[in-house]
């Protein structure tokens, strides 16, 4: 009997048949009516079929491999939880990273899911639409796996319980929140550049690679599993984002200056959010794989440098803030942790001064700056705390209108001088932490004058519960704000030393190691 066996299709043919070939030309509606957001940003697209996903991933393969990733991830989580893996982390200071992660990053994953669902609907090419659909599904997976993984810590440790409530309210959480709100309120092409480039390429390579490797080093299999599993999707997302950038640059020369401005803006926005990651890496990991500075050199300077060397052929220059960001690598984490140490009463995680041994590590990693500018401060604070004078700052800091970070960054060439910039707009004065943030505001002032700045909101009386009475003689505004944050004073905040987390972890670990 003759059997005719059809040859299996190649990857390129399968991709064509199962993405572009599923598209159709509309017959009874105008294209502009179906895709109404494609023109107002000034971007010109002549041929959507020129966009191709370099991975050539089709939906059937997507489901298959994502299912495999999920099975692996949940098997690890189950094993980790079943064996009380949380007691195997270096020490419970480590767990404060997860509190910052859950309150600051996980809600962004959910917003990314919404953003890509929206943009996937709006782009007129079948290739990017399918890639956006996959990314939208990836992002909700990331939100869910992070919540699942960290819910186990919530059973034992403080500061996790009101993560979603706090994301919309707490002063430093407005930094990542406003970053994403800025992106999802942009047009579809700006969103693709913002998230594909700044969030995926710049930010996740630093958060999900060296930091998650650090989580593994500190014994957290849960974070290792969700972090690396998420980053396997991010590889696809970065590729999509960069492919979109190249596609825009190749479609029309008029797109080049628009894309350059977005790269300038979103590099700086992403870099400012990374301030939190810098201090996690240098100060919050009890055991450290590499310093923030080393991670920056590998993933930003080398990796980003290679990207911009490649984009130069389109006339694209490295982002405007690039040089300053590279200078700041010697200072960023130290300045950030100092501020959190100051405001340790107003954050739902614990702070501490680095131990003598940790300070020596910091000196060795930052030979030009740590001993000169930062060690004396930390030693002074540790000394004060030892004498019973632990200082908690009770006044509110001035915030940068663009990135919403307290104004603590120093001048690019003078680490002893705080950097202040300002702009006047319609009779009001606005303040910025840097040239980068001022530039972003000056280009789109109507957007940023609407910023929900936590400190302004507190002073305007918008951050108290309904039962607060500002006229009462014993009214304590800070305590009322913390109540509104749903932060349990003395339990979720203040120093790690003396915290219920420390006490419990030590007692449970003692039980785990002897009868």
């Amino acid at each position: 009997m003759d059997m005719k066996v059809a040859k299996k299709l190649g990857l390129k043919e399968r991709y064509n048949l199962m993405t572009r070939d599923l598209d159709w030309e509309p017959s009874y509606q105008a294209k502009e009516a179906i895709y109404p957001f494609l023109e107002y940003e000034g971007i010109k697209i002549h041929d959507w079929s020129k966009f191709e996903d370099p991975f050539r991933l089709t939906m059937d393969a997507y489901w298959k491999y994502q299912a495999e990733k999920e099975r692996k991830l949940y098997a690890i989580l189950d094993a980790f939880n079943q064996s009380n893996g949380h007691l195997g982390v270096t020490d419970a200071r480590y767990i404060n990273n997860l509190k910052l992660f859950l309150t600051g990053v996980t809600p962004l994953e959910y917003m990314a899911h919404r953003g890509f669902a929206h943009v996937g609907r709006q782009l007129a090419g079948a290739g990017p639409r399918v890639a956006c659909l996959m990314q939208s599904l990836d992002e909700i997976r990331h939100a869910q796996t992070q919540i699942h993984s960290m819910s186990n810590y919530n059973k034992y440790y403080n500061g996790f319980q009101n993560w979603r409530h706090q994301h919309d309210r707490v002063w430093y959480l407005s930094v990542p929140k406003s970053f994403f709100d800025d992106a999802v309120t942009s047009g579809p092409f700006e969103f693709m550049v913002a998230i594909g480039f700044a969030f995926e390429y710049v930010l996740t390579n630093l958060l999900f690679v060296p930091f998650i490797s650090g989580a593994a080093y500190n014994g957290d299999m849960g974070a290792m599993a969700f972090g690396f599993s998420a980053q396997s999707d991010e590889s696809r997302h970065m590729t999509l984002g960069l492919e979109m950038i190249k596609f825009l640059l190749e479609q029309d020369p008029a797109n080049v200056p628009i894309v350059q401005r977005w790269l300038d803006k979103w590099f700086w926005r992403g870099y400012r959010v990374l301030t939190l990651v810098a201090m996690m890496q240098d100060y919050m990991l009890p055991k450290r794989v590499m310093s923030w500075k080393e991670a920056w050199e590998i993933y930003a300077e080398q990796n980003g440098g290679a990207l911009f060397a490649d984009l130069a052929r389109y006339g694209i220059k490295p982002p405007a803030g690039w040089v300053q960001a590279c200078k700041d690598k010697d200072h960023l984490s130290h300045q950030a942790w100092a501020v959190f140490y100051n405001y340790g009463a107003a954050a739902p995680f614990h702070t501490w001064t680095p131990s003598a041994e940790e300070m020596d590590w910091l000196s060795s990693k930052y030979p030009d700056t740590f001993d000169k500018y930062y060690r004396p401060r930390y030693e002074h604070w540790a000394e004060q705390a030892k004498e019973g004078n632990r200082f908690y700052n009770g006044t509110l800091p001035m915030l940068c209108t663009t990135c919403q970070i307290p104004m603590f960054f120093t001048e690019p060439d003078d680490p002893t001088k705080i950097c202040y910039r300002e702009s006047d707009y319609k009779g009001d004065k606005y303040h910025f932490c840097s040239d980068g943030c001022k530039d972003i505001f000056d280009h789109e002032p109507e957007k940023y004058i609407q910023s929900w700045l936590p400190v302004h909101q507190i002073y305007q009386g918008n951050c108290f519960g309904p039962d607060a009475d500002p006229t009462s003689p014993d009214f304590n505004p800070l305590m009322e704000v913390l109540k509104w944050y749903k932060l349990e004073f003395g339990q979720d905040n203040l120093d790690y030393e003396g915290s219920p987390d420390k006490k419990n972890f030590e007692a449970w670990r003692a039980q785990a190691t002897k009868n």
Binding site: K72, N205, G214, Q231, S235, A306
Partner: protein, 89 residues
């Protein structure tokens, strides 16, 4: 000339993949880190299905790379037989 790189979760499957990469890309260097392995190569790096299959001792679909992939950089060119990262055009 810039480097391309790829990083994988450290496990039994990627041990074979990494071995195959090193066999096919003599200029590649390995950086072993907690939980992960990173491989750098100047300008270009190719992962060949055939070599991976030989080392692994079973059939391998290059799209399985997604399962253990952490991050990468460079332009991607993927077919059923080869997965190439490069800065070439």
């Amino acid at each position: 000339m810039s480097n391309v790189f790829i990083a994988f979760q450290k496990n039994e499957e990627t041990r074979s993949i990494i071995e195959a990469i090193l066999a096919d890309n003599p200029n590649a260097t390995v950086d072993d880190q907690p939980g992960m392995v990173r491989i750098d190569a100047p300008n270009t790096m190719t992962i060949k299905r055939e070599t991976v299959e030989e080392v692994m001792g079973r059939r391998f679909n290059l799209q399985e790379l997604h399962i253990n992939l952490i991050t990468l950089t460079g332009h991607i060119d993927e077919t059923d037989d080869e997965f190439t990262l490069s800065w070439k055009h």
